[in-house]
């Protein structure tokens, strides 16, 4: 936790600094004495940096050395695999279309979670796809991505 908190602190300071400096280029307000578009982002960025300093101080005195992310653990690998499949699905959804991509993605995700009962999972993937399709497209008239016409 301790190391992780330092990494998070660094990321937050970088984000705050980027916002602060980008806000420098914003134009001033036409009305005198009234803050311009840069005021709020810069105040918040400074606030983040102050809070991060307090967190780092607290973290320095903390005794919690348990690792938060164990990169070798199968649990984390499962989450990462899930994330990769989900991102691939999001990317291909607009190209291949909902009706083909969804059962494939659902089945892959179910297999990542547990490899047993393949037929049951395949059936669940197809039925779920049809239920979502009917709910959005047919009942609620909310369009879902279709396959690109070549």
């Amino acid at each position: 936790m301790k190391k992780g908190n330092y990494v998070i602190s660094l990321i937050l300071v970088i984000i705050a600094a980027v916002f602060f400096f980008l806000a420098n280029d914003f134009p001033a307000n036409i009305i005198e004495n009234v803050p311009g578009p840069n005021f709020f982002p810069q105040v918040i960025a400074i606030g983040i940096i102050i809070l991060v300093v307090i967190m780092v101080y607290e973290n320095y005195h903390s005794t919690d050395n348990t690792p938060v992310l164990d990169f070798g653990s199968p649990e984390l690998h499962r989450s990462i695999r899930t994330l990769i499949v989900t991102i691939a699905y999001s990317t291909l959804l607009n190209i291949i279309g909902f009706l083909i991509m969804t059962p494939v993605c659902l089945f892959c995700l179910m297999m990542i979670m547990d490899k047993s009962k393949k037929t049951k999972k395949m059936a669940a993937a197809i039925i779920t796809t049809l239920i979502i399709y009917v709910s959005f497209e047919v009942v609620l008239s909310v369009p879902l991505p279709q396959m690109i016409q070549l």
């Binding site: 916002f19 980008l22 914003f26 607009n94 909310v142």
Partner: protein, 500 residues
């Protein structure tokens, strides 16, 4: 008011509307019953389903889901000792012991009746308190709204859990994100990097879906291996009339307590349930048997957590300040339907507001009917394997985010915030402050600068108005209160550690 209420009744009592509410309650009960699916996640996940509906239909459906989910949490709490939602954590104590004695039917029945009473009391309170509060809020100008937003933001300290600093960092991060898009006063594009998708700021619903649903699903994925099949038994009859009469005092007390706690921004259904259970233990004659399975010990938390449902809508609808995370999601849904919560909502869309009130009451009636007569069926959903459920959640998150604007950019935003939420959970950063800040940030900035335009740059405008001063005082009390309670907790832990 009476004309608008009548209009609201006429809108709701149509077959299609009744069916939508019933569907929402069933959906909510299923979501709530499933451990790991919170009411917030359920409402966020199903907001996209309401796009194609008219505002009243969509919103009453979400209210049905909200009520049903808060109640549904008690089902798994009683049957398998796992609260379906955090709001049902206090129900586990007595509920599970009753189930172990073979009295699960009585516990579930009492939970249903208490939840119904809590929900109805809060819906009635909402109907009668909100219009009066909205009338007061009509006189608010930019300085009052700035002070209100500041008070709303001060709640971050009380919803930050054990680490206020991390909560405040999450809140400030949310405020920073809220500055993305067109400047509210000059219209200058800020941090948009020439992307038209960012001109109107970061879309709220994809952020909510990412933070509450994707991050939770990723955490579930991590812990999914080795989960065994769940076995339970809904044994025993429903509570008798004399048993209900014996719990009536507890139910009434819990209902009012829950409603009151719901109205206070920052205190959610979980807090209400524990406060009510604590009050039951303090004042009940059955308290000596606490922890052994006492029926009134189920009634206390269940009446209070459903009491919050209407209470949390009071500040949301009248002032535009969400009381808790679910209210924040509902605010997003309202804005998506083109409705801006606040006093003007009562003036411009009175019939919609009153239809929501009536809809909430009808949802509670359905909750009672489904709970009493269908609980054996609903309890079966607990057995749905997470290995099948979690992938479906991922797909719903993607499809739901896409459906908002038929735009893949929203899906990207959702995924990014899903990963951010997952990392935040890992590093024990609370998620709710980001959402609160995203809502209240633009309000605070816009009203602050509008006030200064009025006063030509003089900050004295904030100190010459009594309502502003009242909100400033409440802000100080809110921050000081949460700081003191955290100190008390830390001291308690120190004492416990030293005695061990």
């Amino acid at each position: 008011m009476s004309a608008a209420l009548l209009q609201g009744i006429m809108i709701i009592f149509q077959p299609s509307m009744i069916a939508i509410i019933a569907l929402g309650v069933i959906g909510g009960m299923i979501i709530g019953s499933l451990p790991g699916l919170t009411a917030t996640m359920g409402v966020a996940l199903l907001v996209p389903l309401t796009f194609g509906m008219n505002p009243v239909s969509g919103l009453v459906m979400l209210l049905g889901i909200y009520c049903g989910a808060i109640y549904g949490g008690s089902v798994s709490a009683i049957l398998i000792r796992t609260p379906g939602t955090p709001a049902a954590a206090a129900t586990v104590i007595e509920g599970y012991m009753l189930a172990k004695k073979g009295l699960a039917g009585k516990a579930l029945g009492m939970s249903t009746i208490a939840s119904f009473c809590g929900g109805m009391v809060s819906a009635l309170a909402l109907t009668f308190i909100s219009p009066q509060l909205a009338k007061v809020a009509l006189s608010f100008g930019p300085p009052e709204y700035f002070a209100l937003a500041l008070f709303g933001l001060s709640i971050i300290s009380s919803i930050s859990g054990d680490n206020v600093i991390k909560g405040l960092i999450a809140g400030f991060f949310g405020l920073l994100l809220a500055t993305i898009g067109l400047d509210p006063i000059t219209g200058y594009p800020r941090f948009t990097f020439d992307s038209t998708n960012l001109l109107s700021g970061i879309s709220f619903i994809p952020v909510l879906i990412g933070l509450f649903a994707v991050s939770e699903a990723l955490t579930t994925t991590e812990n999914i291996a080795g989960q065994k099949d769940i076995d339970f038994d809904v044994a025993g009859a429903l509570p008798t009339w004399s048993e209900i009469k014996g719990c009536l005092k507890t139910i009434i007390k819990g209902s009012f307590l829950g409603t009151f706690i719901g109205i206070i921004p920052g205190a959610g259904a979980d807090i209400a349930a524990f406060v009510s259970y604590g009050e039951w233990k303090r004042s009940s004659k059955d308290a000596a048997q606490a922890g052994t399975g006492v029926l009134s010990g189920v009634a206390a938390p269940e009446s209070a957590n459903n009491g919050v449902t209407g209470g949390a809508l009071v500040p949301l609808l009248t002032l535009g300040v969400p009381g808790d995370a679910v209210a924040a999601v509902l605010l997003g849904a309202l804005m998506l339907q083109g409705l801006r919560p606040g006093p003007m909502l009562f003036k411009d869309n009175a019939e919609v507001v009153f239809a929501l009130f009536v809809g909430l009451m009808v949802a509670n009636v359905f909750m009672l009917i489904f709970g009493l007569f269908g609980i054996r069926f609903f309890a079966r959903v607990i057995t749905v394997p997470k290995q099948i459920l979690t992938p479906i959640i991922f797909i719903l998150c993607i499809v739901g985010s896409y459906a908002i604007n038929n735009n893949m950019f929203d899906v990207v935003v959702m995924m990014i915030f899903g990963i951010i939420g997952y990392i935040m959970q890992k590093f024990k950063f609370p998620i709710s402050p980001i959402v609160l800040a995203l809502i209240l940030g633009p309000m605070a900035e816009g009203e602050l600068r509008r006030s200064l335009v009025i006063s030509q740059g003089s900050y004295s405008i904030f100190f010459s108005r009594p309502i502003c001063l009242l909100f400033f005082a409440l802000t100080i009390i809110s921050i000081a209160g949460s700081y003191m309670s955290q100190r008390k907790k830390a001291k308690q832990m120190q004492t416990e550690n030293s005695t061990l």
